[in-house]
C-alpha cells in the first residue's frame, strides 16, 4: 500500500488531481502533447546531438530528405568538410586533416539553400518561435489587464483617455499597426515582439474593460468601498480575482495568434534576421526554392500547422472549461 500512502501527500494529491483532470478532458490533453514536446525540445536543444544550425556547407546544398553525406575531414579553420559522396578518390583541396574512413552524417529532412541541416535548424528555431510567443503573451496580458482595470473601474476621464487611445489603435486593422511599427523600428526579433504586443494590446484592453464593467457594481465591490478600502486595493484584490478565469482564457486564445504572427513576420523578412533560424525564416528560405527542393519548406510548414491547430484546440477547450458562456458564440 506504499503507493496509495504516497498519494495522500499534498504533492501526490496534486498529481492525482491533474491526472484525473487530463483524463476527463482527452481533447485538451491531446492538444497539450505536441506543445509540451516542442517546449521540451526547445529547452534541451543545446544537449541534443545536432550540428550547428548556422553551419553552412554548399556542397550539400538542397540535399533531399533521408539522404546521407560524408564528413571527409577538417579544413584549415577546424570545420568539418561535408560532401554527399564517399568516393575514396574524391579529396577536396580544402581538407587538411582527413578522416579514414569518412564519417557518415544523416540529413533526415535534407539541407537548405546553404547546405545547413534542416533538422537542427528546426530544433533551434523552435526556441525563438516559442520564446516570443510566451513573452508577447505575458506582456500583452499584463498591459491590457492593468489598463482595462483602470479604464473599467475608475471610469470618467481616465476611461475616456484610455478608450480614445484604444480606438485609434483599433482603427488600424489586423497587423497594419505592427507593420507600421516595424517600419519605424526596423526588422529584428525584439522589434517584432514589440510590434505584435502593441498591435494586439488595444483589442485586449477593450475586452478586459468590458469584463471589469460587469463586476464593477457587484455587491462585494460596493461592500469593499463602504469599508473604506482604496481604489487600488479594490481593483487588485476584489475585481481582479473575479476576471481571472477570463485572463487565462484570453492567454490561451492569444497564444495561437502570436505564434502565427511571429512565424508570418519572419516569413516575409520582418522578424528574425538570417542566418539565425526560426520556423518562419526556414519557410522563407524554402519559399525561394519551391521548385528546386520543395522539401525545405515542408518541415516548418507542417510543424507550424500542427502547433497552430493544437494551440487553437487548447484555447477552445480552456474557454469551454473556464467560461462556458462566452464559448457559445
Amino acid at each position: 500500500m506504499h503507493s496509495a500512502l504516497s498519494l495522500d501527500h499534498p504533492a501526490g494529491q496534486r498529481v492525482r488531481r491533474t491526472a484525473t483532470f487530463l483524463r476527463e478532458h482527452p481533447v485538451l490533453s491531446a492538444s497539450l502533447v505536441p506543445i509540451i514536446l516542442t517546449i521540451i525540445i526547445a529547452l534541451i536543444a543545446p544537449l541534443l546531438p545536432v550540428t550547428d544550425p548556422n553551419r553552412a556547407n554548399l556542397s550539400v546544398r538542397y540535399l533531399p530528405p533521408l539522404s546521407e553525406a560524408y564528413i571527409l575531414g577538417k579544413d584549415r579553420l577546424g570545420n568539418d568538410v561535408v560532401h554527399p559522396e564517399s568516393n575514396p578518390e574524391f579529396f577536396p583541396s580544402s581538407v587538411v586533416e582527413r578522416y579514414e574512413p569518412p564519417i557518415r552524417k544523416h540529413y533526415v529532412l535534407g539541407a537548405d539553400s546553404l547546405g545547413r541541416d534542416i533538422v537542427s535548424r528546426l530544433i533551434w528555431g523552435s526556441r525563438v518561435s516559442l520564446m516570443i510567443g510566451i513573452f508577447a503573451n505575458v506582456a500583452v496580458v499584463l498591459i491590457s489587464v492593468f489598463f482595462g482595470l483602470l479604464a473599467g473601474y475608475l471610469g470618467g476621464r481616465v476611461d475616456g483617455v484610455i478608450m480614445r487611445l484604444v480606438d485609434i489603435g483599433l482603427a488600424f486593422p489586423g497587423l497594419l499597426l505592427a507593420l507600421l511599427i516595424l517600419t519605424v523600428l526596423g526588422p529584428s526579433v525584439i522589434n517584432m515582439a514589440v510590434a505584435v504586443i502593441l498591435s494586439s494590446v488595444p483589442l485586449n484592453i477593450r475586452f478586459f474593460r468590458g469584463q471589469v464593467l460587469t463586476v464593477r457594481n457587484a455587491k462585494y465591490v460596493e461592500a469593499a468601498r463602504l469599508l473604506g478600502y482604496n481604489n487600488l486595493r479594490i481593483m487588485f484584490r476584489e475585481v481582479l480575482p473575479n476576471v481571472m478565469p477570463l485572463i487565462i482564457t484570453v492567454t490561451a486564445l492569444n497564444a495561437t495568434s502570436f505564434f502565427i504572427f511571429t512565424a508570418g513576420f519572419s516569413l516575409i523578412g520582418m522578424g528574425l534576421q538570417p542566418p539565425d533560424p526560426d520556423w518562419g525564416t526556414i519557410m522563407s528560405d524554402g519559399l525561394r526554392a519551391l521548385y528546386e527542393q520543395p522539401a525545405v519548406i515542408l518541415g516548418p510548414t507542417i510543424l507550424i500547422s500542427v502547433l497552430a491547430i493544437c494551440f487553437n484546440v487548447l484555447g477552445d477547450e480552456v474557454q469551454k472549461i473556464l467560461s462556458p458562456r462566452e464559448s457559445q458564440l
Binding site: R164, D167, I168, A171, F172, P173, G174, L175, L176, L179, L180, I181, L182, T183, V184, G186, P187, T256, I260, A263, G264, L267, I268, G269, M270, M283, L287, L290, Y291, P294, I297, L298, T301, I304, S305, A308, I309, N312, V313, D316, Q328
Partner: protein
C-alpha cells in the same frame, strides 16, 4: 435614424485625424533619411544634391507645415511620389487596390457559397439521426479549417497544385504571354490565393451558420414551412437561413474589410501585386510616402466599413440607436 448616422459620421472625424497624426508621427520617427538612403543606394554622395532633393520633397520645412501640406494635398488626391519608384503614390495604391479587391471579392463569394451552404447542411444533418461519424465530421472540419494558418495552407496548395500536379499558376496575376484582359488566365491565377485567403473564414462562417441554424431549425415556422409542403431547399435556405443572416452578413462585411487590408503574408507568398505586397515592399525599402498613403487609405477604409456595419446593425435592430 438619420440623426444616429449623422452622429456616427461626426464621431469618426477626430478618429481619422488621430490616425493621420499617428502615421505622420511614425513616418517622421523613422531612422535614416529617406533621401540619403535613396542616394546612397544609387551610389551618389553629394550634400548639395541631398539638400536639393529635400527641398523638392519639402523635407526641410517645420513639422506642422509638413503635416498640413501632406494632409491638404492628400485631400486633393495627391499623396506624393514614391521615393523609390518615382511614380505617383495614388497610382501605385490604385493598382494595388484593384488586385487586392479582385481576390477579396472572390474570397467573400467563396465564404458565402461554401461556408454558409455547408453550415446549413451540417445543421440539417445534426438535427437528424444520421450516423455520429458524419455529424462529428461536419462539426470538426470547420474547426480544422479555422486553425491552420492561411500561409501554411497556401504553401501546401502551391506544392500540390502548383508544383506536383502543375495545374495552376502559383504567383502573379497574369501570364505574360496572355493578353491584358484574358479573364480565364486571371481566374486561374485567382484560385490559389482566394482559397488561401478564404479558408479560415469559410471555417468560421461554416461553424457560425451551423451553430445558429441548429437552433433556428427547431422553430415552429420551420415546421410550418415543412407542413406547407415546400421543397427542402426553400425551407432551409429561404426560411431558415434568412433569420440568421444578420450575424453572417456582419462577419462577411468585416471579413471583406480585413481582406482588403490584412493579407500581406499571403500576397507575399503568391507574389500577388496587391496593396499588402506593396506595403511590405515599401516597408522594407522605407519608401515613406507609399507606407503613409497605404496606411491612411487602409485605416480610413476600415473605419468606414466598421461604420457601415454599425449602421446596418442600427437599421436591423432599433435598440442599437439608443445605446
Amino acid at each position: 435614424m438619420s440623426r444616429y448616422i449623422a452622429r456616427r459620421l461626426l464621431s469618426i472625424i477626430p478618429l481619422l485625424i488621430a490616425v493621420s497624426l499617428v502615421v505622420f508621427a511614425m513616418s517622421k520617427a523613422l531612422p535614416g533619411d529617406p533621401v540619403e538612403i535613396f542616394l546612397q543606394q544609387a551610389d551618389i554622395a553629394n550634400p548639395e544634391l541631398v539638400n536639393a532633393m529635400k527641398d523638392k520633397y519639402g523635407l526641410n520645412d517645420p513639422l506642422p507645415v509638413q503635416y498640413w501640406t501632406w494632409l491638404s494635398l492628400m485631400f486633393q488626391g495627391d499623396m506624393g511620389e514614391s521615393i523609390r519608384r518615382g511614380e505617383a503614390v495614388s497610382d501605385l495604391l490604385f493598382r494595388g487596390m484593384r488586385n487586392t479587391f479582385s481576390v477579396a471579392t472572390a474570397s467573400v463569394l467563396l465564404v458565402i457559397v461554401v461556408g454558409w451552404t455547408m453550415g446549413v447542411l451540417s445543421a440539417v444533418v445534426h438535427n437528424r439521426s444520421w450516423p455520429q461519424v458524419i455529424t462529428r465530421f461536419l462539426a470538426q472540419v470547420p474547426v480544422l479549417m479555422l486553425s491552420i494558418p492561411g500561409f501554411a495552407v497556401a504553401v501546401f496548395m502551391v506544392l500540390i497544385f502548383g508544383i506536383s500536379l502543375g495545374w495552376l499558376p502559383t504567383s502573379g496575376v497574369s501570364n505574360p504571354r496572355a493578353g491584358a484582359d484574358d479573364l480565364i488566365d486571371l481566374g486561374k491565377h485567382l484560385i490559389l490565393p482566394t482559397i488561401g485567403l478564404a479558408l479560415a473564414s469559410v471555417g468560421g462562417n461554416w461553424r457560425l451558420a451551423r451553430n445558429t441554424m441548429i437552433e433556428v431549425l427547431r422553430e415552429d415556422y420551420i415546421r410550418m414551412a415543412h407542413a406547407k409542403g415546400l421543397p427542402l431547399w426553400r425551407v432551409y435556405f429561404l426560411h431558415g437561413l434568412r433569420t440568421t443572416l444578420v450575424p453572417l452578413l456582419t462577419s462577411a462585411g468585416l471579413l471583406f474589410g480585413s481582406l482588403l487590408t490584412g493579407s500581406f503574408i499571403l500576397e507575399y507568398i503568391f507574389a500577388w501585386p496587391g496593396i499588402g505586397l506593396l506595403l511590405v515592399e515599401s516597408t522594407v525599402n522605407r519608401d515613406v510616402p507609399v507606407v503613409m498613403g497605404a496606411t491612411i487609405m487602409i485605416a480610413s477604409m476600415y473605419i468606414f466599413l466598421n461604420l457601415a456595419v454599425d449602421i446596418l446593425y442600427a437599421i436591423v435592430d432599433p435598440r442599437v440607436r439608443y445605446a
